[in-house]
């Protein structure tokens, strides 16, 4: 559906060149909910804007549905953008137009008649559950409602792709969940490919099936969410996976000073009391610093962070023991905070 081939984007500023994207190659399949995650400034916003050419890559090709966007003229590009909806962190609704007119806007500029546009707006309001707000103005809506309007507006022209740029970052956790559920529903019902830009692992875990991790302009890791969550390879991925717990921002700092591992249980490893057996076997206690069950792409995954004994020999033995039992084990020590 979307293919990026060696996409780079360089900005020239007064202080020299800034490499926002470096040689990113990526394929997003039809029907995917693809998460692009990274710290702020990593280049993810630039990346998503390259997908509809709001930003023109300095080099490399972006193919959407087989069409190379760089080969399209201004007019064709504008027409192509009608196949790619986009929603934003700050909603970006027209403040002087009411909800219905906001949703009609992309249709009207595409040349649809007023009556047909209004009819489509009614359908969309039904989908996003805001039928009663049809003639309200954006100022009268809550953040979640504004994002629903933005989603309806982005879907008005029946796009095949929906780009979400930090779409839930300005919303509270409960509203975030509701908006993510709506996006998932749209993906399943209408088969729209969704690309989600976020800095929160929780968002990716909640609805994405695939994920790409961006660090310093590079795509450092990508794959199924389940794989990346269980076996993060890159520093960036490990950090993001560990930082999921917002309520525990100091955790990473604490862990760095200790001899810790993070283990992930899959469904078949939960039968044996692994930790208890391990403690008996080595005759040395471990410290359970954190234990949690998370919903990763709809599958329950147990996650635990263990503080291992000071003795390097025993610690190494324990890691080996855990790995032999098919658990995903990651050493936490040495994470860059």
């Amino acid at each position: 559906m979307i293919t990026l081939n060696n996409v780079s984007k360089t900005y020239t500023t007064k202080d020299g060149e800034v490499h926002a994207l470096r040689d990113v190659s990526l394929t997003i399949e039809k029907g995917d909910i693809f998460g692009i995650i990274g710290m702020s400034g990593a280049g993810k916003s630039t990346l998503v804007r390259c997908l509809n050419f709001l930003e023109r890559p300095t080099s490399g090709a972006v193919l959407v549905d087989g069409k190379d966007l760089s080969l399209l003229g201004e007019k064709q590009l504008r027409a192509e953008r009608r196949n790619i909806g986009m929603i934003f962190q700050h909603f970006n609704l027209l403040m002087q137009k009411n909800v219905t007119d906001n949703i009609c806007f992309p249709l009207r500029i595409a040349g649809t008649s007023k009556a047909a546009a209004r009819k489509r707006a009614e359908e969309l309001l039904e989908i996003v559950g805001l039928t009663d707000k049809a003639s309200a103005y954006p100022i009268q809506l809550s953040g979640g409602q504004k994002q629903r309007v933005a989603i309806a507006r982005a879907l008005a022209t029946n796009p095949k792709i929906l780009l979400c740029d930090e779409a839930t970052s300005a919303l509270d956790p409960q509203t975030t969940k509701a908006i993510l559920a709506l996006l998932k529903e749209i993906n399943e019902k209408y088969g729209i490919t969704i690309v989600i830009i976020t800095h929160e692992m929780a968002v990716v875990r909640e609805i994405c099936n695939r994920v790409g991790i961006i660090g310093d302009g590079r795509l450092v890791e990508h794959g199924s969410v389940l794989d990346v969550f269980s076996h993060p390879q890159s520093q960036e991925a490990k950090e993001l996976v560990l930082r999921t717990n917002n309520e525990n921002p100091d955790l990473v700092e604490t862990l760095e000073t200790r001899n810790c591992v993070r283990i992930v249980f899959s469904e078949n490893s939960s039968y044996e009391p692994v930790i208890a057996n391990m403690v008996l076997r080595f005759g040395s206690p471990v410290n359970i610093l954190k234990a949690d069950t998370k919903n990763v792409s709809g599958i329950a995954r147990g996650e635990m962070i263990l503080g291992l004994p000071e003795d390097r020999e025993i610690a190494r033995g324990m890691i080996k023991y855990l790995k032999e039992r098919n658990l995903a084990v990651e050493e936490v020590t040495g994470y860059v905070g």
Binding site: L54, M86, F88, Q96, F105, I109, I139
Partner: protein, 220 residues
Amino acid sequence: MWDKAVIEMIIRGIGETLYMTLASTLLGYLFGLPLGVALAVTDKTGIKPNAVVYKVLDFISNIIRSIPFLILLIVLIPFTRAIVGKSYGSTATIVPLVVAATPFIGRMIESSLKEVDGGVIEAAQSMGAGPFTIIFRVLLVEARTSILVGATIAIGTILGYSAMAGTVGGGGLGDIAIRYGYHRYQADIMIVTVILLIVLVQIFQTVGMYISNKLDRRKR
């Protein structure tokens, strides 16, 4: 003193002032609106950045705005004569008024348009809107209250400028105030005309703010 002739003169003064102010504002927007749009669009943060066009328009607007109106009025006499056929009277005053008002209005339009949230423009671009669609259906619509507030300021300023029309025999209330109050020491006539000018400015201001508030949808 307050005979029929004086009262008639004052009424004619009101008419001339309104004529000059409203006609100049209207024509000022006819030229100033495109100028302001061009400035906002070609600036480096605009939707079609063009350094050359921006610099040229920017330079011309600044030069005209730096010339005191009284001097502009005199400098433009040949130009005025070429356009309206004579260099005195209310209609002739409209020419320099428009010349002075256009860059002023252009600047206000530019700043109103720049207040429009860049995110909204980006959203429109993501929907496939071209530059003209963005100008007419996003920028001018989203900025309309700010533009109207600017218009009330512009009317007030142009009304003030029109008072100098007396220099070229343009008439109007300002002319009466200077001729009677200053040259003939008839303070009472001057006070009346000044009060009338204040009332006119108040009316324009009140009506302008009322309309712009009415049109603003950013209120709960």
